[in-house]
Point group: C2
């Protein structure tokens, strides 16, 4: 087995910064660019590990904060670590909990040691800082741990962003000095909001500390698309070529294509799974609401030509029915389809980089992909009937 942390770049796109790589972890090699399905609470919602791996995924996300609340990191450690607990033999990246503490929790008090906040589960007081976050991630035994960071909201003042960068850097030092699980990698997170010089400075200082990989955080927190791209560009500007780059919380397929063109290797996002539960299907051309009345008698699969488990067996009419009557099989089948769509798109991206055709792929993709397909616009505006 290759040593965890080895990151081999096998192909570079001649026209953009896109690269095709292989990241070794303690639980196997991850081909990049990669999309990581989100399994916040030790499960990709609705699916078994077999099904997730069956779609070709070799790394999923877990969440430090959620898992420390329930079932608790001690329970997972006692049960042999997160891989064994959830029955997932491949790689796991754990988010540090920073983003959740700042976005989910109620009243909070930030000090240099960390954050005191209210649990979203029972309202009780909790404390999470770099030492605690690393301790939990060690117990979970993830393959890639994330440094505990302060993720400022959008918009925020320069002063706030600056202070968040200071804390993120100070916490990154502490995280780097904490014990880790065997072969566990540690990624630093670049913050800095929309402020280019702050992003660059944060990147430079993290690189000086030397991490196994680098993430760009706080770029998918409600800002407009161009600010997202700008934040990304500044965020990766100072990062080394030879280390994996992870754009946190992104995203939408067209955003990922643009980010790959700028040199990003890793992505995660709740979108394909969360939107599935809300009844939105992703296709190679965009997305559409399966619950819309026009699909009530539509015997076609969710996406024509798709070879996923769902599309080979079930019609839009059936899945619409399941969603309309809140049958969990509906969310499950749609989640499977959406993840398949993401997996196929990442396959296409990797193959295009290998073949030196990523530029064409990007252009072709941008031409065909429409966030909401025009042909489905009627559907979007239709009111749901009770039946039919």
């Amino acid at each position: 087995m290759t040593k965890p942390g080895i990151f081999e770049i096998t192909h570079r796109d001649p026209g953009t910064s896109a690269r095709r790589g292989r990241l070794s972890t303690a639980h196997g090699v991850v081909d990049t660019p990669v999309f990581m399905p989100v399994g916040t609470q030790a499960t990709v919602k609705g699916l078994t590990p077999d099904e997730v791996a069956g779609e070709g995924f070799r790394v999923v996300l877990g969440n430090t904060y959620h898992l420390s609340e329930r079932p608790g990191s001690d329970v997972i450690e006692k049960c042999g670590g997160l891989h064994r607990f959830m029955g997932w033999p491949h790689a796991i990246l754990t988010d540090s909990g920073g983003f959740q503490v700042f976005s989910l929790s109620g009243l909070r008090r930030i000090t240099d040691l960390g954050v005191e906040f209210q649990s979203h589960v029972d309202g009780g007081s909790r404390f999470l800082g770099p030492i605690e976050a690393m301790d939990i991630q060690r117990k979970l035994g993830s393959d890639i741990a994330m440094a505990f960071d302060e993720c400022p909201p959008y918009p925020c003042t320069r002063e706030y962003a600056c202070q968040a960068v200071e804390r993120t850097l100070a916490w990154a030092v502490k995280c780097a000095n904490q014990p880790r699980a065997d072969g566990q990698l540690l990624f630093g997170i670049v913050q800095g909001g929309i402020y280019e010089d702050l992003r660059r400075r944060c990147g430079r200082e993290l690189v000086d500390l030397g991490f196994d990989g680098y993430a760009v955080g706080g770029v998918s927190v409600g800002e407009p698309e161009e600010a997202l791209i700008r934040g990304l560009e500044c965020g990766i500007a100072e990062l080394p070529e030879d280390r994996p780059r992870y754009l946190m919380g992104v995203g939408l397929l067209p955003q990922m294509v643009e980010a790959v063109a700028r040199g990003v290797d890793m992505f995660d996002c709740v979108m394909p799974t969360r939107y599935a539960r809300n009844g939105t299907a992703f296709t190679s051309e965009g997305r559409y609401p399966v619950k819309a009345a026009i699909y009530g008698r539509d015997e076609r699969p969710l996406e024509e030509g798709c070879t996923c488990y769902t599309c080979l067996r079930f019609s839009r009419a059936y899945i619409r029915h399941l969603l309309n009557v809140n049958e969990m099989l509906g969310a499950r089948l749609l989640t499977l389809h959406n993840l398949h769509r993401y997996a196929v798109s990442m396959d296409e991206i990797r193959e295009a980089i290998e073949n030196g055709t990523f530029g064409e792929y990007r252009k072709e993709f941008t031409g065909r992909y429409c966030d909401i397909r025009l042909e489905h616009e009627t559907a979007m505006n239709q009111t749901e009937g009770t039946s039919g």
Copy 2:
């Protein structure tokens, strides 16, 4: 293919009325005694057809009333019938909707033509009678249709029960005269509440009409266990030996063993699936609440020695966690286990009848099975902790 409706009894238990048979339907042969998982809304909740068939089931239930509400029988007919709509290639029995109309709906007015009632979906006025119920079942294309009946509550007066029998018989005549789907069988339903002579009379008159099979209805509607057994005994007393007998809405494994001993061939019940969603695991010895705190770090499978998908891969601790955080994978994995347990129990019952050892099996089963296992009683009484 054998003609739908052929019911071959291959073995009889020497000491009881238990029999081992094979019922031919338009979608394959069903081995009896059989348990039919409930798929009210065109899905066994949480599972794919592959998974249900993978546990050995060859017949599931659909519900005429629910499916006529959503997505509507016209939609299902347009999509090629219920088998194709839900992707289930094996047999389907459709409940007539009588039980649901009487138990689920609000204000209702009963006439000789049927029942005017309020939809549980939108509160709108609906009408369901023998003609409507048969028409819907014809469109659904189920293999076994049930005659539309009046199911009185428990307790009810003799007068009420008598009137319900009259209506059930009059409606049975109408149902028998309605057109059906190709190869669709029709079962009559014996009502009569706890009144032995009414049950017997209802049975006799249905037999005179001549159905493909006979069901005993209204015996699992809240009455005490001995009344259930007594209702069953009177209900089947007048039924012919050579036709399948179906005990509706039962049940619990020990109740099914006792019913088989009295000559019942078919069962359905929401228990293994509904209880799974509430966190109850069934084992060969009883049932227990997986959410109980004592299982928080329990690395054993739900049932030791069990070979189901769930037990081969996941621990009680993991499933408890999923249930506690409302992850749908928890309900799904537990449903799979519970149905496996039911499938294995029915296999054992059929094998015991084949081997002439059903009497011993019944005794052994009654000895080992305890509705709530003593060793789990502590668990039942424990208060849930937030974690751990």
